[in-house]
């Protein structure tokens, strides 16, 4: 046999082993119906729940009014607190009632309008209204405050214009700046788009670390790793099929979730190129399987692997800014976001799915995934090789 033939045969053997081992992993997965069900649940119902159930907007905030003036002006002001943001419960008269309602969590916002409110406004005298806000939840508290002040200040502005007799009493004719805010990529601020995509990314992330790690630790715990050790397989030939099999499962899961939940139910507009999305996803899964491999090498049993996975997963998801925007993090924590592969992957995914970004824009995110991937996979393989010897 010539050199070339030998090489060709070597290659064929290599491919053969890879194929056989990958099939073995897939078979093992297929024979665990509970696991398959959980994976399917993660890619469908779980994403549906996240997308349909959650909104970070102020909706139906229970509001109570203490109107001590009961005039046309005070009623006009109250009428500007509209649904869906606010739902006005009822009127109260005593301060103690307000305190009670806030204590019990029955009111988020109590608006108090002083006596002689209308008379002061007409006379051009300054008057004060009070907002009491239950800030136990700071997100809602902040939004209620922000909306409330917007409504009251624009009312105050109009009242000021009227009492000064400017612009014939209409704000549209007075010397004021009209700042129109236009929201891009998600004009209706549909939380379902954001939540469903972010949940998909979380599920991909969790599975990409857990599945390969579990596949490896399981062999260690059961002792079947001994068989692999005495086989003619190289460390890469042991590790790669696991990654490949899990990647196949995850990619299939993504397709299912796009076809059954994201597009038909939530109408996520897929603005960019799906092939690019799947290519970047492949890079990302390889990156994370390196982390999974690392977890597998330092743990002996699945219980340890599970606990260690949370310790890796939680910071990674958290630092990516998928739960809270990076702009809301303290500077020191924000600087750490560059170490989370999900940070880059998230940018790329939202970029492709919502913003229609292409590779010219996303190259830096892709670079981030690749560079971090070199580290995680390299480190994982190095640890793995050492264990093999």
């Amino acid at each position: 046999m010539t050199m070339a033939q030998l090489e060709l045969q070597g290659l064929r053997v290599w491919w053969g082993r890879l194929r056989v081992m990958t099939v073995k992993e897939l078979l093992q997965l297929l024979r665990d119906p509970v696991l398959l069900f959980v994976i399917l649940y993660g890619f469908t119902a779980d994403i549906y729940n996240a997308g349909s159930g959650v909104t970070l907007q102020l909706t139906n905030a229970s509001m109570v009014v203490q109107d001590l003036d009961r005039s046309a002006a005070s009623r006009e002001l109250v009428s500007r607190f509209l649904p869906p943001e606010f739902s006005i419960g009822y009127q109260i008269t005593r301060d103690s009632e307000a305190a009670q309602l806030l204590d019990d969590g029955d009111a988020l916002l109590v608006l108090t309008i002083p006596p002689q409110f209308e008379r002061d406004l007409l006379a051009g005298h300054k008057t004060h209204v009070q907002m009491q806000i239950d800030a136990t939840n700071s997100v809602l508290g902040f939004l209620a405050y922000s909306y409330g002040t917007q409504i009251i200040s624009s009312y105050a502005l109009e009242a000021g214009i009227q009492s000064a007799g400017l612009g014939a009493g209409a704000a549209s004719l007075a010397p004021v700046v009209d700042n129109r805010v236009r929201v891009w990529f998600n004009p209706n601020q549909n939380d379902a788009w954001f939540m469903s995509i972010s949940e998909l990314l979380n599920v991909i992330t969790a599975f990409s670390i857990l599945l390969p790690a579990a596949a490896m630790v399981r062999e260690k715990e059961r002792g079947t790793i001994e068989q692999l050790l005495v086989s003619p397989l190289t460390p890469i030939q042991v590790m790669l099929p696991k990654t490949l099999a899990m990647m196949l499962v995850i990619q299939l899961g993504i397709v299912i979730s796009l076809l059954t939940v994201l597009v038909p139910v939530f109408h996520v507009p897929i603005q960019g190129s799906l092939p690019l999305f799947f290519c970047i996803t492949t890079l990302y899964i390889i990156n994370l399987s390196g982390l999974g491999l690392f977890i597998a090498t330092v743990t002996r049993n699945l219980a340890q692997a599970a606990m260690l996975s949370i310790l890796v997963l939680a910071p990674m998801i958290f630092l990516s800014g998928i739960w809270t925007p990076p702009e809301a993090m303290p500077a020191a924590v924000r600087a750490l976001t560059v170490f989370s592969p999900l940070y880059y992957y998230m940018d790329a995914c939202y970029g492709i799915l919502l913003k229609g970004a292409d590779l010219r824009v996303l190259w830096d995110s892709v670079l981030g995934i690749v560079v971090l991937g070199c580290f995680t996979v390299g480190f994982g393989l190095w640890r793995f090789r050492r264990q093999f010897d």
Binding site: V34, M131, S138, A174, R180, F318
Partner: protein
């Protein structure tokens, strides 16, 4: 139930846990690490949003308007551009979150007593962030308008500006934030973090407890022993409840001393309801462990069943009142929400059993249901 047998199983489980040093260490490291991470990193005060400005007017007045944005801590000024179309790319690339576009004749319109047009373009990928930006823009704009009105009124009436300024804005707003005066996010978040972390960590600890024995075959020792199903489950659960209770204490100390959250309630009431709560969350893990056949399935199942609902539906990031009806049902089906009420009340409001007895009752009921479900699912006979 025979107490000796329960304790025997518990002590066997405890020894197994302690002898697995890495696992034992992780059982304590994970909750504390999560608390520190979320505690220091989680904040919803959106600041330093990268902003670019397109000023078609380029007058002193438009520059003054722009400066109100530049000088605020909410925006990081990235520079002026000639044309908003140049900036599309940067918003797509996440380099900008907002663009302020000032129309031509801004100054001339205002001077002549007419309204002036300004537009703000905001990246809406993260709806909460977009909403926050809208609020900031409105507040800065309102402050500027008070100023222009003051000038206009003082010109028309011929009174000094200072005098007009005392009157405007006509309606002053007094705001009182209750229970969390400084609106510092961590204050309000720490008690809920305690709840979330104890929703994530204990099920993971417990989830592999029984299925591990099924996989390795040591479960046959139990099958052939005199211990009943209930005794076995109770004995299995005990060590994990003990570890989780210790963790509650650790997190409690962290919340008070690291994050400075006040604790106004009754410590005993809080501790007892916390034990009840971790019984529920470890019970979830136990139930998973009874229901599945392989450790991998238990591990993945717990991730999907607990971590996601813990974060999404328990009212940490999103208040329960903002959830849709289906999600609200899910929220009520999880123990986290009830304990979140108790934790918030104990820490921030100083309320106790008198207010929260329904929540305590719900948790107790929850624990009973979990245990019964586990009891019914677990068989001492091998499936045919």
């Amino acid at each position: 139930m025979n107490r000796t047998r329960v304790l025997a199983i518990a002590s066997k489980e405890w020894r197994e846990i302690v002898r697995d040093r890495l696992f034992f260490a992780l059982a304590f490291v994970v909750p504390a690490a999560l608390m520190l991470l979320f505690g220091f990193g989680l904040s919803l005060d959106v600041e330093h949003l990268p902003l670019a400005v397109v000023d078609h007017d380029r007058t002193p007045m438009s520059r003054e308007y722009v400066h109100r944005f530049i000088d605020s801590r909410y925006f990081d000024f990235k520079g002026y551009a000639d044309d908003e179309n140049q900036l599309d790319r940067h918003i797509v690339d996440n380099q900008l979150r907002a663009v302020l576009v000032i129309g031509p004749h801004f100054e001339r319109n205002l001077m002549a007593g007419r309204p002036a047009q300004v537009q703000t373009l905001v990246d809406g990928t993260f709806p909460f962030r977009a909403q926050t930006v809208k609020g900031y823009v409105a507040a800065i704009n309102a402050a500027f308008n008070v100023e222009t009105l003051t000038q206009a009124i003082s010109q028309i009436r011929g009174v000094p500006q200072a005098q007009v300024r005392e009157q405007l804005p006509l309606i002053g707003i007094e705001v009182r934030f209750l229970y969390n005066q400084s609106m510092k996010s961590i204050w309000s978040i720490a008690p809920k973090l305690l709840m979330v972390i104890m929703m994530i960590s204990p099920p993971f600890l417990t989830a592999l407890g029984i299925v591990r024995e099924k996989e390795s075959g040591s479960i046959f020792n139990i099958y052939s022993s005199t211990a009943s199903r209930g005794e076995f489950l109770a004995g299995k659960l005990l060590p994990y409840v003990a570890i989780s209770t210790l963790n509650i204490l650790v997190l409690w100390v962290l919340a008070i001393f690291m994050f400075g959250t006040p604790f106004k309630g009754d410590p005993l009431f809080f501790l007892l309801s916390a034990v009840l709560y971790v019984t529920c969350t470890t019970g979830i893990g136990l139930l998973v462990s009874v229901a599945v056949k392989t450790q991998v399935a238990a591990m993945i199942g717990t991730t999907i069943l607990t971590v996601v609902p813990a974060v999404l539906y328990s009212g940490v990031l999103i208040p329960v009142s903002s959830l849709s009806s289906v999600a609200r049902v899910i929220a009520h089906l999880l123990p986290g929400m009830y304990f979140a009420d108790i934790a918030m009340g104990s820490f921030l409001k100083g309320l106790g059993l008198a207010t929260y007895w329904p929540q305590v009752l719900a948790l107790a009921l929850y624990a009973c249901i979990l245990f019964t479900a586990g009891y019914l699912l677990f068989h001492k006979r091998v499936d045919a």
